[in-house]
Every structure is written in structure tokens, then in C-alpha cells.
Amino acid sequence: MARLNADNERIAHEIIGRYPRKKSALIPLLHLAQEQDGWVTDEAMSHIADLVEVTPAEVLGTCSFYEMFKRHPVGDYHVNICHGIACHLLGADELIHHAEETLGVKGGGTTDDGRFTVEGVECIAACTEAPCLQVNYRFANKVTTQDFDALIADIRSGARSDIPPHGTLAKTRQSIPEERAAGPALVEDAQEPAWLSRNGSDQ
């Protein structure tokens, strides 16, 4: 647990290769680090700094701006309960209160067994399904307190294997076959694209 492992370092290089400037890969690589360890370690940030050729301070500057990156260990299941306006109107505060009571933690806290972290979060774009929540960024809609208890019970019993560990976002990655890649559009010495110059345009 620390630097990106060999597999992830290979993925990191593949991601970096898609961008005209290496630093653009910073956020995807921080996700990769979080997927590996469940949170973003200082060692991972230093490693990423090397990979994208910036200072660790710059990596931390970016990392600390974004809510999803946790710079300390969190629960296996990060429960984000939406308290955006639509959910607020339909009982989000009560749901958060219930979650904190039943799990015995306060906002952002982690249960003693390390399984759950609960946090009230801003709008997660499921407003018509209020009140809603995400567990490791997987949705549960129109959640009652009973639904919440059932969800926690299901997770505890291992019935929700569809929810990946914290840090894993998309289970499907983009993969650009080498022979199909157009390649990054480099900033320096770029030319007008061939199809434009031949076909003409109003540009």
C-alpha cells in the first residue's frame, strides 16, 4: 500500500499517453491510487507527481480540491446521503440522522469495524428519486429508513457484491486499441486537420 503497483503503473502510463500534457492525467491517476488502496496515500501522491512531472505539492493541491479523494482511510463502504435541495425537501436530514444513529457515527465518520463511512453530500443528480444515496457511488433511490436498514443489512451479509470496494469507480475502463488510436492532439506545432483543409470550411 503506497506507490502505484506495477499493473496500475502500466495503466497510469496508458492514461497519461492519451493527453497532450501529462498533468491532465492527474485526476484519473488519483482515482487509480484510490482504487488501489481505498484512499489516496502520500506515497501515491509522490509517485503520481513523478509520473506526471509535477511536484507533490501540486498533486496535493489538486487532490485536496476534490471531495471524492480521501486522504485518510475510510470505510469499505462510503455511504453518501444526498442533502441537496430536492432531497432536503423529501427527508434527507431525517435519513442522515437515522443513518448516523443506527451506525453510531457522525458526519464523515467511520464505524469502529471500518466497514461504513457516512457523509451528507451535495446533490448527486437523482433529484426525482429523492431522497437518494450512493454507496461507493452506486445509487439507491427513494430511500426510506427501512430501506436504509435493509441496505446496510444486505451489505453486511454479503448480498451486495455488485457494489465494488471504495475507490473503484467504473468497472469498465476505456481502452483505446493502439491501431485505432488517433493519438493526442499535441499543443505544439499543430496543423489544421486534414479533413478541414481538404473539404474547406467557414473557419
Binding site: S46, T55, P56, A57, G61, S64, F65
Partner: protein, 830 residues
Amino acid sequence: MSDDMVTFNVDGNEVSAPAGKLVIEACEDAGVYIPRFCHHERMNPVGMCRMCIVEVDTGRGPALQPSCMLTVSDGMIVDTQSDVTKKAQDGVLEFLLVNHPLDCPVCDKGGECPLQDQTMAYGPGESRFVEEKRHYEKPIPVNDNVYLDRERCILCDRCTRFADEVVGDPLIHFMDRGNQTQVNTFPDEPFASYFSGNVVQICPVGALTAKPYRFKARPWDLAEVDSTYPNAMGDRINVQSSRDQVLRFQGVDSDAVNWGWLADKERFSFEALQSDNRIGSPLMRGGGLNKADADGDELVAASWSQALGSAAKAIADTTPDKVGFVGGARLSNEAQYAWTKLAKGLVGTDNVDAQLGDELPPHALLGLPRATVAEACQPGGVIVLIGCDPKETLGTLYIRLRHAVVEDGAKLIEITPTDTGLTNVASASLRARPGEAGTVARALLAETVSGHIGGVDEDALATARDLLGSGPVTVVLGRGSLSESVDSVLEAADAFLDVDGVRFLQAIGRGNTMGALDMGMSPGLLPGRTSLAAGQDAFSDLWPQLPNSDGMNTAAMLEAGAAGNLDVLVLLGADPINDALDPAVAAKALATVPTVIAVDLFVNDSVSKAHVVFPAAAFTESSGSHTNLEGRITAIRQKVTPPGTARSDLVIAAELARRLGHDLGLETPSDVWEELGPRSAVHGDVSSAAIEADVDGVLITATGRVAFAPPDQAVSREPVNAYALRLVTARRMFDNGTMVQQSPHLAGFAGQASLRVNPYDFNRVGVADGEEVRVSAPKGSVNVAARVDPGVPKGIVVLDYNRSGADARVLLDPGATSIDIRLESKGGKA
């Protein structure tokens, strides 16, 4: 009015300004000051603090705009006094204050704080913010010298922009978000920048404070004067003192030179000048307390009369050819003239050398068409960096060059043996093997070449060659490594002389070397960039004893001294034991010469061997002028009195002359220019008044009569030995130099010498990072800790010069084109 001027209206007055000028600056030029916190004229605008928001009408009705982000345009109407403007600015000020602590009484910035000033002038009497303020741990160190108080910080981005944009050390950064945003470093990675002190100077509140100044004085107790720091750039500084003690140097924004910036090496060196180690009275050999005795073992205090008498007697008792003068780059121009006149005009010896043989020779400093810093940094120009690393040796030149490349589209080509501080912004980096810079330069300028030349492949050469045609070429020429013959750098310079309109900027190390040469402090030279022979007529009326033939340089004088052929050696701020290329000869000379006279601020290793020591005033303690690497003469102004009975270098020369029975005819700095002006081909326009008149000083543009002397033939190259590593010795910003070592807050940065090795060679030798290795060259060997450095090419090693633990000089061979070394781990593996 020219086409690139526009007319706009500010507060009812029509004014004109250059198109493209920011409203905030154009208004200031017109006498209307718009308050600001984040805006800094030497950094890119960010428009973050919003304090400079004003109503601007560009034809679509007045709208609030940040005047730091908007450029003036024709017909623009700016209203800095409208009710809307005032309400918005008052609102912003209140926002900045809601989380700002009320600790002004214990804040270093109090009294010179823009936030405090603004609040006093326009702010509300009371706070409407009754909530809890943001809290952070009170000041945390971001490095050894700079503290950060995040509660005071108003997040203006000045320090972080400086670190990133200006010096390329983005080690402090905004962290977290929104109302929790803070400036900080990465955990356990301090703001290790050579330029960190600048952030203290530009912080608009008391968030960043400097340890050497913390709680030393209040701004209203400080008296100040603009002056020049006598380093090779001649950085313009503001010297601030209280109760006759210098407490702070601040950078002064000179367009021509340092733009307000200083390296920490200069900024925090004021401590050295206040050091208890300063010499406060003349010293002589003694046998006990205050008992002068020529054969005594130690230096004891003496009277000026005793010391001057003793020194004068030693000089008078011998012949001029047995007297030598070494050093002088520390001195002001005026003192340099005085000592040169004393030595060459009155004593009659040409054994005078301000240099120590470790930099470019005089003909390369005087004989090449010289560029100004501004010319070197012109937008669209091409900068060719040969042999040196300005980030290590010329801090503010590094900043200027970096700005030229990053912001103004200049192209940088490096011809250096290893990575430099500018490598990451260079357009082409040609890693010439030590001793082969000249070969690489010739190949670069040739029409076509094939194969590897001096360690550089043909593609890299071709890429760099394409850049050469893109703009006017300036060569920044320095002698970065002492383990290769200076001839290879000279050969490179010679090659570039073929480029149309090429100019050179010589990256010299010792402060006033250019002034010293202009004042004739070199064998065979007279003041005014002329030779001893050519200048005879101009000076013979006032300089009765002018020598007829060229004298010895420093190396020759030390050899002569060691061989018993010198009777008097005068050290003018020189420390040959630590700085001459051959320490053994230097030590022997100082032990052998019957009378060693030293003029210095401190008792260094060489001064401790002297027989007579004169305490000199430092540049904060006497007035005069300084010549920088461009040939720019700027004012040095006295701020405090010298310690004890120390006197200015000029006065010491005059007093010694008097004891020798002469009137030097020079009592004040202006006497020098009145005497020199009519006699010099290049100093006709220089006067003390002219120097005083301009923050950018007087630039000597005339070339003089010293010709550049390239090597007679191509420098021979040593064949590459696959089993050996080629040695580079390199100066670092912090080393065992006196000013660093006498400044408590800098001395620790010098550290131990290390050897930097490419990872490949590192593994080949089989040592661990930090492990001590033995470095063996034909002339000698040293033990030193080895460090992995991917910036060092394979086959090359870099040894720190003038740091503790390993004296690189034992490996040097002044005659060799390059030096190959063997590396052994303690385990004995090769």
C-alpha cells in the same frame, strides 16, 4: 501620439497609456492609485482578491471590472470614486477581514501592511462578523527561514504564483477548497527554494514572515536607503536598519536588473555584516594581549598608525616586482581604482589580479560583444547557455532568463555537461561532455554533421540548429566546471562569434569582477579597458611609477610567494587558501611571504596567516558604486557605521599611500570619476551624480581595447574511457563562501559536498544512495557521499565545489582538457 497609445478617462481626466497596459497600472501612471492585494506587476494577473474592482464603461454602460485583468482601450471610462465602486471595494475589504485575526500588535507586517493601511483608510470601524473566525495552527515553518501564518493569509496567490511562475519551484500551493483553502507544502517537503525570501517581501499581509527578521523591529523604526548588492548581477536592494544595525534587505524593482527579486543568499546575508566575527580594529602579529610582534603567533589588535606604518615599511623596503596584490572583486569601483592607482601608479608593480584563476580570463570578459540582461532576455530571442547553471550561481539572472523563456517566447539552448536549473524550460539541451563544449558549439554552427559529437547526437544538434535562426542570439557564457580547461568554453565562444549580431553575457561569480577589470585590476591592464602599454600616456601624469611590463597573475604570484620570490602580498578581500585552485601552493605562499597584508571584513583562513590586517567597511557601511556583469554601474550607499574603527577600502588605500609618502588624491568616490573620466575611453559619461540619478545606473557600452583571444587551435579531446567517469565540479548557491558561512540562517544550507552520479553508473559501481565513495583522479583522491541524480548523464559525475567534506581541488589539473576519475565503493568494487 503614436499608434500604440490609447486615450481613456479616469475619474474625469483624459489620459493616454500604451495599448495593452492594465487599467490598474495605467491609472497608477496617471496618478490614480487603485487598491490591490493580489496584483503584482512582475507576475501574471489573477484577479482573485477583487480589491481593485472599479466601474468601467466601454460603451455598454458602467460595469464593475477587476482593473488588474482589464487592458485599457480607447474611450474607456474608468470611475474609481463612484458610489458603486466604493461600495464594492468596501465590501471586498470587509470580506478579507472577516477571517483575518486582530493580531496586528504582534504582527511583523504591522506598519507596512497593505491590508492594515487599507482598513485604516477606508475600512469599517467595527466588524459585523460575529461568527467564529477560521483557525489554524499559528505560524508553521514552510522552510528553515520562512514562517506561514494561515490565519492571516488572504489567499492572494502571490507567494504561490511566485513559486510556480517566477522561480519554477511550485512547492507551496493552495490546498483544500472554498472557505477552507490554505497555502501549504506537501507533508515533509519544505519550500526548498533558493528564492523563498521573496514571498515574505511580496506578501500583502503578515502571513509570511522571515525568521532572520521576525520581531526584530517595527517598520516605523527602520531607516532605509536604496543601494546595490555587490554580487555579479548587482541586484538593487533597499537596506533597512534600526539603531545602526542592518536588519533587512528588500529587493528593489529595477527594470534593468533584478525586478525586485533577490535570492536568499543575498537577502539573508545581512546577518554576516552584523556578525560578531567582523574585524573591528587593525590586527598585527603579536605575542600576547595587544602586543605587536612581527614574529608573534597570533593576531592581536593594533592601532591604525602601527598597522599602516608596518605595512608601508614592508612595501618601501622592497622592490616593486616583489610586491603583489591579490583580490579586489569585493571592493567598490572607486576603491578598486584607488588600490590599482596605489599599486600600479605609486608602488609601481603590475602584480595585481582581482581574479583567482577560476573564472573566465579578462580578455573573455572584456573582449566579447556584451549583451545587457534585457537584450539577453528579449522576447523572441535565442539564449545559448554555455557551461554554467545560473540558478546555482546567479539567482536573479536565472529568474530573468526563465521569464524570457516561459513568458516572452525566448528559446533556450543549453550546451552544458548536465541538467541545469533551466533544463525543464529549455528548447534544446546539448549535453556536451566535459572539455567538449567548443566541439559541440562548432558542430552546432556547422551546416551539417553526422554521428555523435562531444556526446551529442546529430538529431539533437539539428533540432537546436533550427532554433538558432529564430531570433537574435545571446550567449550566456560561464565557466561552470573547474575540472575542464577554460579553453573549451573559449572555443565555444569563438565559434559563436561567427553568428550575425551575437552578443555575450558573461556569467561571472565574484561580485565586482567587471568593475575590477574596468579599473585595471589585472596584470597588463589599466583602468578604462585598456592595456598597460596603450594606457601609458593617459595615466603617466598622475601615476608616476607605471610599470613597463606585464606583471604576474594570482597563480604566478602565489607560486612566486611559495618560492620565496615575493616580499609583500596584499590580500584585498581574497582568501587564496580556500579559493585558489592550488591550495597547497597558496598555503605555502602565505607561510613564506615575509609580509602578508590583508584588507577584509573577516578573519578567514588566509587572513589568519597575515601579518597586518586592516578592517574594512562593508557595502552597507561605505558609499561608492558597483559594476555588474553587464557593465552597469549602480550606486552603493552607506546606511550604517562600520564596526569599531573599520574604514572604507578607498580610505585604507589613501592612508597607506600617505604612509608611503604619496598623496593618492582620492578622498571621496566622486574624486575617482573626476580623475578617471577624462583618462578612460569608456568612462567619460560616468560621474557620481549620474550613477545616483537612475535606479538602473549607468551602462558602459563602449567596448574598449582588449581583444578576445580564442585558443590557437582546436582544443584536444581526451578519448572516452569506458571504465572511467568524467568529472564536473560545480558551484552550488550555498557553499563555504564567507558571506554564507557568516550568516547563521544560511550557513546550514551549505551542507556536505556530495558526488552526483547517473543511476546507471550508480548501479554499475554498486553503491547505495548516500554511501561514501572514493573518487580517484591522476592528481589525487577524495572520499565523498554519492547521490543518484538522473540529471547527470551516463559517464559523468558532478562533485560539489567549495563545500565541506571533500575538497574538489585536490583532483584538479589546470592544464588538462578534462579529468577522468575512478569510483570505488568502500567495499572496493570498481
